[in-house]
């Protein structure tokens, strides 16, 4: 099978690989690049566990071919922050118990990232609408909403 060369920047690092055109972006990120924080939950672009930022926009990487992302800048959960230097959204999820099993969490955090870019002071309804593309079976979403509010407040206070 013919392979295509792609170049992407993930979390600030440049990668160049030859890939099969059918390789899904999520498999590229996980299996080829080895960043396994992005999860696969449903494969039908409904659960949002595979959410990454593609040129700044939250997308479901299970419904994208890696070749489509050629030349793109991608941010995965690993690029958002790490222990000791948590992003305010990550901190919110931690402080407000916005996760249990953690499987949906990376995608949920990146969906929240996009939400807070668009709505820096979101209402409960805006938060619910903003994460409706991300399914969580553990939390019932309430602590996630509180986590996002926490992050919103912190991000706003950082801007001031």
């Amino acid at each position: 099978m013919t392979r295509t060369t792609i170049e992407v920047t993930i979390n600030g690092m440049r990668y160049r690989h030859e890939v099969e055109p059918r390789l899904l972006l999520v498999h590229y990120i996980r299996d080829v690049v080895g960043l396994t924080g992005t999860h696969i939950g449903c494969e039908t672009s409904l659960c949002g566990a595979c959410t990454v930022l593609l040129n700044g926009a939250a997308v479901k990487s299970c419904t994208l071919f890696a070749v489509q992302a050629d030349g793109a800048e991608i941010t995965t959960i690993e690029g958002l922050g790490e222990a000791g230097q948590l992003h305010p959204i990550q901190e919110g999820f931690w402080m407000k118990h916005g996760l249990q099993c953690g499987y949906c969490t990376p995608g949920m955090i990146l969906a929240a990232y996009q939400l807070l870019q668009r709505y820096p002071d979101p209402t409960e309804a805006q938060i619910r609408h903003g994460i409706e593309g991300n399914l969580c079976r553990c939390t019932g979403y309430q602590h996630i909403i509180e986590a996002i509010r926490y992050a919103a407040e912190k991000l706003r206070s950082q801007k001031v």
Binding site: T2, P21, S45, G48, A57, V59, F65, E132
Partner: protein, 287 residues
Amino acid sequence: MIPAAFAYFRPTNVKEALTLLDQYKDEAKLLAGGHSLIPLMKLRLAQPRYVIDLGRVRELEYIRESGDQVLIGAMTRHVAVETSDLLRQRCPLLAETASVIGDAQVRNMGTIGGSLAHADPAADYPAAILALDAEMRAVSSQGERWIRAEDFFVDMLTTALQPGELLVEIKVPALPPRTGTAYVKVAQKASGFALCGVAVVLTMDQQGVCQHAAVGITGVAPKAYRARAVEQALRGQKLDASVMAAASAKAAEGIDPLEDLHASAEYRAHLARVFCRRALEQAHARI
């Protein structure tokens, strides 16, 4: 879920895309945002030998005004339609419709052209496209033509686009004064697609008489349709709750509604009537 193998092409302009389309004909599939095609490929319900990715055909990503029309490039993402100031001012129905498609991530990838060309009977856009009397511009190596919304949707997953044709542009009218629009949707809870979505355009004259009424309904029938009987019952009338309710009762007239796991034909027809009334009321209130 893993798609079958294919050969991949990434044209950067319409001309290149058309050449590829001519070359590979029905063995090729066009990839726009991918949110209709890729799931089908992962389920191996679609196994194209060639995939032509339109993602780099930048000339098809625009929203611009042209006289009393708004032109939208086929590769314009749902999110761009949703957040376009131009559309919000000149054609808010389309922006409103885009805002309830799928979810935020889907709207970031999905394109208006891809959605229309896929012609899912439960997609949101077709209702608005019909109600707006939009026109679709298709080009092929032979030339180009405009297709009226009502001619565009032929059947479930089937449009008037011919092999070798590429949908490149959607033209919607900038709405005249004293016009109210609304898109009201009840979603299938799992997929987020419309069980029933009703788009309404109402224009009143100075005296408060309905001059123009257009109702597009999606999700209910094998293809989105114009509820002509409803429109007729509104035109020339002063609109009050009872007129709108009586007109809405005709929302599923002459329709053979879909029936599936998620709703019976009877319930879909009922939803069409209820949400037609609600959409009319909302559009009327916005005038």
